[in-house]
């Protein structure tokens, strides 16, 4: 049983569900903890949705690659897309301390990801955005 999984999908929201089905099958085969599975799902959903909705300046089809590598203590998640340069570490923090009336309903996705993962590294390489995320296996 391989310790790696790589999936490439098109930039449509309909591609997300088959992708997460494959990723979950892989994680269940490797008996990852519920907590790790939750975090990987959240990171993939938030980032891939963001790429599909805001990542491109045209309407052409694009490929997004999601890869998982399992190490003894860590799950490494890599996401690659050819959208415009976008560093999710540089988006503003949402203001979560304002009263309900003034609270925006959106803008929480990348904030959640930054908070629940152990490490995020962004780089731009050969006209692609590459995001490397570490999530503890426990």
């Amino acid at each position: 049983m391989s310790d790696s999984l790589s999936q490439t999908i098109g930039n449509t929201l309909e591609s997300l569900s088959p992708l997460t089905t494959e990723v979950n099958r892989f994680m269940e085969q490797h008996a990852l903890s519920h907590e790790a599975i939750f975090r990987v799902n959240l990171a993939i959903e938030e980032i891939v949705t963001n790429i599909i909705k805001y990542g491109y300046d045209d309407t052409a089809p694009h490929a997004i690659t999601v890869a998982l590598d399992l190490f003894p203590d860590t799950i490494r998640l890599r996401l690659k897309d050819d959208g415009h340069p976008f560093n999710p570490l540089h988006t503003p923090e949402p203001d979560i301390y304002v009263p309900l009336d003034q609270r925006k309903v959106g803008g929480l996705g990348l904030h959640l990801v930054r908070e629940i993962v152990d490490r995020i590294v962004y780089r731009r390489e050969n006209d692609a955005n590459i995001l490397e995320i570490n999530i503890a296996r426990k």
Binding site: E45, E46, P99, L100, D101, R103, G109, L112
Partner: protein, 112 residues
């Protein structure tokens, strides 16, 4: 995701089970908007069967809490798992909508 609805006095309880992600959250949004539209003002969402929530689900809760507040009503969340509670904490939910450990506590607080 599955939802089911019940009433205890003037409190409407919406039970949510499964995964609340970008694919399923529009359905929950429709259910909650429908409840408010049909006159429900005290709404408790029971989350004890909720395995997963993403920002798409948080958006639905925020939107429902705003609509209910405008209508002089209230949204409360009940019995989230530890993982779901952690997501609520990161999103700063505790300061804008009540979250109770059990369904009974939530219903009791809303019925008052």
């Amino acid at each position: 995701m599955n939802t089911s609805e019940s009433k205890q006095g003037n409190v409407t309880i919406l039970q949510v089970q499964g995964k609340l992600d970008s694919a399923s959250s529009p359905e929950l949004d429709k259910r909650l908007t429908g409840l408010v539209g049909s006159g429900a003002r005290q709404v408790v969402v029971n989350l004890d069967g909720l395995e997963y929530v993403s920002s798409a689900g948080l958006r639905v809760f925020l939107s429902a809490a705003k609509h209910l507040k405008q209508a002089q009503g209230k949204l409360a969340l009940a019995s989230p798992s530890a993982q779901v509670q952690q997501i609520f904490d990161i999103a700063g939910f505790a300061s804008i909508m009540p979250i109770y450990k059990t369904l009974n506590e939530a219903v009791g607080a809303c019925a008052m």
